[in-house]
Amino acid sequence: MNDERLFTLRNPWFVWSVGGTLAIAIVAILIGFIWLPSASSAFGDRSLWARICGAAGVPSSWYSGSTASRVPSEVVVLPPSGRVHPAADAIGRGATIANQHCSMCHGVLGTAQVTAPPLAGQYADVLYKEMRDFQTGQRVNAVMEAIIADRSAQDLHDLAAYYASLARPPAADKTRAEGPDATAVRLAMQGDPARNIAPCAACHGQLDRKGAAPWLGGQSAEYLAAQLRAFTSGERHNDINEQMRNVARQLTPEEIDSLAKYYAAMQ
């Protein structure tokens, strides 16, 4: 019968294991929270307590520069959950507003006659975000700003639901006889990692879709190329993480035209 007691200071196994573990922990904590933060000047000349808090990960700011640079858009559009379907009356209200105010440029059933983009079949979250950005001035357009200025958030949601409920328009550019340009296919489907260009299709819906990334098929080549150039110059800057500006800056003018034609030929 083994009646040796373990949880007592007389048992060397207990003393050495608990003592040893504690010793390792204490030494590690002293080094990690006091010595190392003091050894580096990167944390600035701060008090001991501030250094300990810094090592523990308590947020602090040592940035004292100007915050006057352009404030990014604060509209965060979440990806669609796929389980929420718009109510029929929302689509109906949206249709009423659209036919009174939008169809002059964006077409009655979404087929646009001018350089304004066709909106039929566009994802609702995209439409909502762009309208919000026109309202707040994050995306600049003289016509859109005036037309959308007084619309309530409900109106914007209804408009988005209406256009999203329509069928996608046919391809804008049906004249092209030969197959798609190899450069455009490569950039759209696999990107160019060496130049930090992500594949377009990873966000815009051919492969996968990220929130607020529009479907590009059916847009005119002129419109798409103009938007990419606007992203390149920074004139358009309502991509909150600069994901489009970063990609567009890397594209050559020829690649921009090629991609614009590629998507114009898609439905």
Partner: protein, 541 residues
Amino acid sequence: MFHAKRLVLAHFWLAFITFAIALCLGAWQMLVRSPLAPWIGDPELYYRSVTAHGTVMAYVMPTLVAMAFGYAIVELALAQRLVGLKWAWAAFYLLLVGSVMAMVPVALGKASVLYTFYPPMIGSPFYYLGVVLVVVGSWIWVALMHVNLRIWKRANPGKPVPLAMFANVAGAYLWAWTAVGAALEILFQILPVAFGFARTIDAGLSRVLFSWTLHAIVYFWLFPAYIAYYTLVPRAIGGRLYSDSMARVSFILFLVFAMPIGIHHLFVDPQVGAGFKFVHAVFTGMVSVPTLLTVFTICASVEIAGRLRGGKGAFGWLTALPWRNPMMLVVAFSFVMLGFGGAGGLINMSYQLNSTVHNTQWVTGHFHLIFGGAIVIMYFAIAYELWPQLTGRAIVSAKLVRTQLWLWFIGMMVVTIPWHWVGLLGAPRRMAYYDYAMAGMQGQAFWVGVSAVGGLILVASGLLFVYILVKSQFGPFVEPQTFRFASAAQPVVRVPVALNSFGLWVALMIGLTVVNYSVPIVQLLRLPQTSVPAVVIGAQR
């Protein structure tokens, strides 16, 4: 004397069938991102495959092997009927249903989030629920191991718990506690979003919770392999276990130190303070101690075998070893891979060196070498050892077994050594597409190609493994031999209570977890504005 045969066999078969499928997926992945094959054109297919490969290889296969081996140990080492056979079957069916439930959405492209979940990516809730079922099933196993040991202890008061069972229960306790992190992450962070109740997720907190599970799970995978080192290898090669106490100390050190170290996976994560990163690095260093102890003890045990077989001198015992014995071969292969992999692991865990290899192919090479190499090759050995007990038939051919083990060893070295190398050259991991025409990457193309060939060798070895098991199971009956675990060089008559019980070690494990994880978790819970929008995978196209 072996009542749970069908149960253990069912576990092994489910483990090895899923393993064979996931192995083929892995080789396919290596091929399509190498310069040997044209690119598939759709990265989503690649990530689908990676998710399936990782989920099976990390959650399903090793859990099933650990469970099967644990049930066998209860009957073989304790020499008592497994109590709770019905519960054990219920657990098995939970794993079966869970695996299918997780794999269907993955196959449909609704959950290409990789097995480590990576919030804010969110896949189909069925994927996570499937993983939960697998974990719940394994918790039933943990409870059964606990109960069976208690029953044995009550019947044998004061006697030393057989080493195999002691280690087995240590592994079970480790798994029970380490799975809690991922369980918290899935239940409180991921599932609410996957079901649509929430649309944002605290990705930083989720990653910290997952790191709780992420490293100790490796030691849960490793336990069966280490049990085989200590309790199967010395007997199979005609030696003695050098020290029973050293073995117990090693398993206890794993139990205490495997848990509070996961933040070394988050060395570049901004949401965790540098102080905690350092402390976790220190404790990760401590986990190398039981492995070094094991290497010493097993080498000494093997030396005993060599000397018993007439080996003389400083190195003469090496040539006297039974090199044609598959178990001798497997432990040698396993140690070589453990040596390279362990050395790489020390680089990963050191706070500064990590920054040169973080998120590169080096890391993928590392865990394939350690887990797929050193550990999985021991899973093969365990299956070969137990097969005659389970089926009543002999393994069909020792030569085929040796061929299979050689192929696995060569394949794994050819896969992982170039993999480490391209990682050092800077190749990032988790990418579906590499442009080898790019100037900076041309030097990597050759080695990636070599590595992909290694993947094909592994497929050949894995399929040969399954073939040997099937062929043996339908072979002629043999007279069943009594199963014996290795005996120690010194007879184990009495062990200190500390090496025969778990109370102190479980308390230390939980205490260290509180010290190392409480502040980062509580701090992230209290910080406002830490949630980010979820990215739904497989969303509308």
